[in-house]
Symmetry: C2
Subunit: 480 residues, 2 copies
């Protein structure tokens, strides 16, 4: 009875994906909206998940030679306006500070929507000689973009992210860095979040405001829509020229520096939910789950101490694994099973008096909901193995989903039908023109997600819109 009550409160994933998404976030205690338009509070369970993602990425950022730093939240309007494309891209979304205390400011300050402008203005003072290069800096920060339509984790007025900002001596080094960090993101998502991604280059129309080239990783959500999960920009010399970042090279010539920037955000939490979750709630990959395994003791009054003391023993044995013992007495085991499933804990350990007598516990996988019996003496190894298996299986399942929902289409009629009926990724030939891209978007709401780095098809085809010959096969999808 209780079980049904509890689960009934979540809309079905297949019937109403959007309502399911919001319900899962709120009921699992990840986040919630506040009275402030488009601003969310990230609750402790959601923040612990973000901390695990952040730590896994921070480690990779440092291992690739970057250091963290912190730059001002505010950007004077004049700085933001220096790079024309950049301000055009971001001005409509900027929150402006106009007063400090009772005084009106002489110049308005933008609350950073991204930090290229403020950071470049500072870098221009740091860079003098080729010996000062490269600068490899990352910042973990909050940013604000005044969005009209918001959705928890995916698009909020304020969000948390990291933004790398690097400066290089040569064009080649900047390009190498751009792709290196794209790969770091791909590795983070696939290894830790169990989310397969497509790496590729954004079209001119979709690139970052002020960049030379933008690359992205694109993931496929459970409803067949794509999500841009991370971007890495080769900024060329655009910002260096505007912000005067010059250096004296070894050949004694003064040159403009080459730059990159790259970022991922709390949007990744949205991706985790939408890729792995099911009708019972969240399913978290073990590597980033705040709680990897939960022990639910099953007892009556007369077996309470017997069961609890064994449960505590098992908890101690599992040191090194993020494990919790749910010894609350005001809830039934059934209620607890549902709650921990909703919260996506990868592995549940059930232990009752009869299990103990047989020297066993019952292990229940969250992803498959299958039970296996394990001898208590082997519980540490079995839990460790199962967590590895779950991590791997989640990735394989997600990859199979992408494969099953990636369609090769060479004909515009079929393209329209596919995007409407099947959703998912469509790989199709495209001539390279922004006009065709724009028309396709207008007519089908599908956008080019990226031009994949890995060749997906040999030979040449004809642009699905204009019919011109091309060897560009690109990923289309409707996207968040």
């Amino acid at each position: 009875m209780v079980e049904k009550e509890f689960v009934k409160d979540i809309p079905s994933k297949s019937e109403d994906f959007s309502a399911w998404y919001t319900a899962v976030i709120r009921k699992a205690g990840l986040a919630d909206y506040t009275s402030l338009k488009g601003c969310m509070v990230i609750k402790p369970y959601g923040f612990a998940l973000w901390e695990n993602v952040r730590n896994a990425l921070d480690k990779r950022i440092k291992e690739t030679g970057h250091q963290n730093a912190y730059f001002p939240l505010f950007i004077p309007e004049s700085l933001l306006k220096k790079e024309a494309e950049h301000v055009e891209g971001f001005a409509p979304e900027v929150a402006w500070v106009t007063h400090g205390g009772k005084e009106e400011l002489e110049e308005r300050l933008a609350v950073r929507p991204t930090s290229e402008a403020i950071i470049c203005s500072i870098y221009s003072k740091w860079v003098r000689s080729y010996r000062d290069l490269p600068i490899l800096i990352n910042q973990w920060a909050n940013v604000v973009r005044w969005e009209k339509v918001t959705r928890l984790f995916l698009r909020t007025t304020e969000f948390l992210w990291q933004e790398g900002h690097t400066v290089h001596r040569t064009k080649e080094e900047a390009q190498e860095e751009t792709l290196r960090m794209l790969n770091v993101y791909k590795d983070l998502l696939e290894t830790e979040l169990a989310i397969p991604v497509i790496s590729g280059q954004k079209t001119e129309r979709e690139k970052f405001a002020g960049a030379l080239k933008t690359y992205s990783i694109e993931a496929l959500m459970g409803d067949g829509k794509a999500l841009q999960a991370g971007t890495s920009h080769n900024l060329g010399q655009h910002f260096a020229k505007v912000f005067d970042i010059k250096f004296l090279d070894e050949d004694q010539k003064e040159k403009y520096a080459w730059q990159t920037s790259w970022g991922v955000s709390t949007r990744l939490i949205g991706a985790i939910i939408m890729v792995h979750g099911d009708d019972y709630g969240l399913i978290l990959p073990p590597k980033i789950a705040p709680i990897q395994s939960v022990i639910v003791p099953i007892f009556k009054k007369n077996t309470k101490e017997f069961v609890l003391s064994k449960a505590r023993e098992i908890k101690d044995v599992l040191k090194g694994i993020r494990v919790e013992l749910d010894d609350r007495e005001e809830y039934t085991p059934g209620w607890k099973f549902n709650e921990w499933e909703l919260k996506g804990v990868p592995l549940r350990i059930e232990i009752g008096p009869r299990d103990i007598e047989k020297g066993n516990v019952v292990l229940v996988r969250r992803d498959t909901r299958k039970k296996v019996v394990s001898p208590i003496a082997e519980v540490k190894n079995r839990v460790g193995e199962l967590l590895d298996i779950i991590q791997n299986d989640l990735f394989l399942k997600a990859r199979r989903f992408v494969e099953d929902n990636t369609h090769y289409v060479e004909d515009y009629g079929k393209f329209k039908k596919t995007i409407e009926e099947k959703k998912g990724f469509i790989i199709a030939p495209w001539c390279g023109s922004s006009e065709c891209e724009e028309k396709i978007k207008e007519e089908t709401k599908a956008t080019i997600r990226n031009i994949p780095l890995a060749k997906v098809k040999e030979g040449r085809g004809k642009c699905i819109y204009c019919g011109k010959e091309t060897d560009l096969y690109v990923y289309f999808a409707r996207a968040y």
Copy 2:
């Protein structure tokens, strides 16, 4: 020659403390001002130091049962104005957002100067029953206070901090929590930062805007001025009543909750510099130093590979210690010695061809600048031991400084003379009235730092200002 050049650039600590402070921060690469009034950039070395402080504190915050979360940056004006004392305290320092994109907002938004108002408005929705309590949440965040006079790390328009916000069922629990976190701060400073502090209660005049009671830890800087290094507030029911945080207690009665808040900030970096540094620059306590030990190889052309390969071996042996090998060839060893001293690296390892032949390295302590020879075979143990000794000695030295600069005074004439000539802490009897406190501040610039929790003097004395009998002995000082 080079050595002198380099060091000469820092003003003497004893002659011009303030100029010394700023020069050390900039030359050691901790931080710098930006073109934005009062806003600083925390550079990689400074940020790595902050990360170590943050991690040490975060661990303690979690060990005492708290979880991290994240709340919105913006606070609607109407929310901030709900608690009268609170808004009066903070309104003059608030940066106001008035526009989102091109549109003027219906209500101005404060960029958080502290988050009580926004968090309480959210907690009021979370708290229904005594079962929802306690709420033990912490947030790491940036905050903005529009300051007129700023100084790197000590007082900047934007700074980084953590703010704990807890909700409790009873008055006693809230008071316990307030003191628990004050103790956590004391332990952080004394154990990790090697900074002795005085724990005590703030006077009515100096307490947090909206609090019932404020407690602080106060540290003594190298120039004899005090620094408030952390505060913990018992908020009583002030905010609960204003923001309607009520719960149904076990006795079926509806009650207002009891709250606390507590915080420390990047100001701690300023304390580390001012407590430990000397004329050669920073001195960092080993536990939080980004680099605990630096290996400086000394070689000529013909001994280069011989020395470098041994230096690399030693670096490998020192795994687990944060060690760096400075193998740059464009700088002389002397230049490197100075640079790493300036940066406050606790232990330098010098290694040259003759040392190697004898099977030795030279270890140089940053704090005492004394050299000891260590057999290479024992280098790991010796370095570990020395880092522990340095950590301990730094604390003892700082504690001795506090003892030497703490004066018991029972007479106002002597008080004025002491504060002018000797500086430091003055312990003196005070009647408890805000009038005397205010007058003393006007006449001497000394403020009551706190009323110490640990009794500092037996018996009764007479208020140094009005002569009234009292058993309150309090800490006075001029402060940052």
